[in-house]
């Protein structure tokens, strides 16, 4: 595959197998959940390890780093979601949760809200205000399974993608379904609003990148990557970066693509090595940063 607009790479060796990765602080901070329930943080500028601490508690089933990288929310099989200091893992707050396994956690872009999915083979969503710890919304549909969530900046609208491909638009103020978007043919694990809330972007597993304007909810279909696992939208809403991990089949090289959302043109693309995990973000310069992991090896790349 031809490369274009790709930058150099930085390699990091994690102290234990990487279970999950996220990029925070506009791509300047890399956070990893490691085997042994260790939480490690690195600078993306030079790959320096900033911290490595082990969580003391029940086995984690979900974790999410706050956008500024200062807080870490963790879920277990206990009916509670705990917010920790990301550097020391000292407890900061505890949110009451349903008595079922926490499957996923996600912060809103401004860090003000935290969402959690609970149980198996059902959509059971709870949303808390981070500052107070109070639950502000709940939504349950036992016939659906979630794939991802995005918060619309500046409001109380959330988009929840389902394994069926549908995307539910939820009014968090009223815990009410506002609209169902049925444009995606497959599940959209990667889903995000633009910073100004004017666009919702979702990457369907079938390789279609869907872009809705949030006034009329008209959709445009752009070319993405089949099997996309991670998606980020640039602050100006003009570009998206998507990644495909090595799966289906597992010897497929990871793939990265930077897409102009206005024209649909692919600005840059490249394949990488075998990677089981990926995380994406846009950095201040406008470039896209991608983190790929396999085992204990992490590679940081830039696109654009």
């Amino acid at each position: 595959m031809s490369d274009g607009g790709t930058g150099g790479s930085l390699r990091i060796e994690a102290p234990a197998r990487v279970w999950d990765l996220t990029l925070r602080k506009r791509g300047r901070l890399l956070c990893g959940l490691l085997a042994g329930t260790r939480i490690a943080r690195w600078s993306c500028e030079d790959g320096k390890l900033l911290g490595d601490a082990a969580y003391q508690g029940p086995t984690l089933t979900a974790g999410a780093e706050a956008p500024e990288g200062d807080r870490l929310a963790v879920g277990t099989v206990e009916p509670a979601v705990r917010v920790l200091d990301a550097a020391t893992l000292a407890p900061v707050a505890t949110m009451q949760a349903p008595p079922s396994r926490c499957g996923d956690l996600a912060y809103s872009a401004d860090g003000a809200m935290l969402a959690g999915f609970f149980g198996r083979r059902r959509l059971e969503l709870r949303v808390w205000a981070v500052a107070s710890g109070a639950q502000i919304a709940s939504f349950t549909d036992v016939a659906q399974e979630p794939a991802g969530i995005a918060f619309r900046p500046g409001g109380r609208l959330a988009a929840v993608s389902l394994l069926t491909g549908d995307i539910l638009l939820l009014d968090l103020g009223a815990s009410r379904l506002v609209r169902t978007l049925s444009d995606a043919r497959m599940a959209c694990e990667g889903i995000a609003f633009s910073d100004d809330g004017s666009a919702l972007i979702a990457a369907s597993y079938d390789g279609t990148l869907l872009a809705w304007d949030t006034r009329e909810w008209r959709v445009r279909r752009l070319e993405g990557i089949p099997g996309t696992r991670a998606l980020a939208v640039s602050p100006d809403g003009a570009r998206a970066v998507v990644t495909r991990n090595s799966f289906n089949p597992p010897d497929t090289p990871a793939e990265l693509r930077l897409v102009d959302l206005r024209s649909g043109r692919t600005e840059a693309r490249r394949t990488a090595g075998i990677a089981g995990l990926s995380a994406v973000a846009f950095v201040e310069s406008g470039q896209a940063r991608v983190a790929l992991a396999r085992g204990t090896s992490i590679e940081l790349l830039t696109l654009g």
Partner: protein, 197 residues
């Protein structure tokens, strides 16, 4: 297509595998609902209406899956829609197209039947499987998966080994496999589905 004895063994099949009868459906007997199983990430809406999923030239053991769609009283659910999808014999799902994906409609007597190739082992799962999403008016949508008693993952003992696949929570979803050898080997599986309200 001709498979050697070795290929049959590798496919997890043996001649003369027993076919276990499906439940009797008479009277007002209440049938147990088909256990639910995960939808998984590879469901794709808009699959074509077809009873033949075989992709010409693809390797794999021909497989015929048949069964009925019923309510818990045994009444056939005529017109029920079955969406089925699975990995190819290499264990790879088609994401961009609709290979090994189809939409079927149950006949007036509730029966359905389709031809395909035996799914391979998807690397992130233990057992071979076919996904089902079955819907009928007034009934709860059934999302489940069909498994094969001859799957090497069960090492010949599905009763004890079904839990090797953490997604497979109910032994009843594993169905016996028959093998016919007329004009080339062909596997057959019967999978009745019972929908609740």
């Amino acid at each position: 297509m001709h498979l050697t004895r070795r290929e049959l063994v590798e496919a997890g099949l043996s001649l003369g595998a027993a076919l276990v009868a499906t439940p009797a459906l008479g009277g007002a007997e209440r049938l147990p609902l088909t256990p639910e199983n995960e939808l998984g990430p590879f469901y794709k809406r808009g699959a074509p209406a077809s009873t033949n999923l075989v992709v010409a030239g693809d390797p794999g053991l021909p497989l015929v899956v048949s069964g009925k769609v019923l309510d818990s009283s045994g009444k056939p659910l005529s017109g029920a829609v079955l969406e089925v999808w699975h990995a190819d014999s290499r264990g790879v799902y088609d994401l961009e197209g609709y290979r090994y994906r189809a939409r079927l409609t149950a006949a007036p007597d509730g029966t359905y039947r389709f031809q395909t190739l035996m799914p391979g082992h998807y690397p992130q799962r233990v057992a071979q499987h076919i996904h089902y999403r079955v819907s009928a008016p007034g009934r709860k949508v059934l999302v489940t998966q069909l498994y094969f008693a001859t799957d090497p993952a069960f090492a010949g003992d599905p009763d004890h080994n079904f839990s090797k696949d953490p997604v497979l929570e109910d032994r009843r979803l594993i169905r016996p496999v028959t093998l016919e050898d007329g004009g080339g080997p062909r596997a057959g599986v019967v999978f009745d589905t019972v929908l609740g309200t």
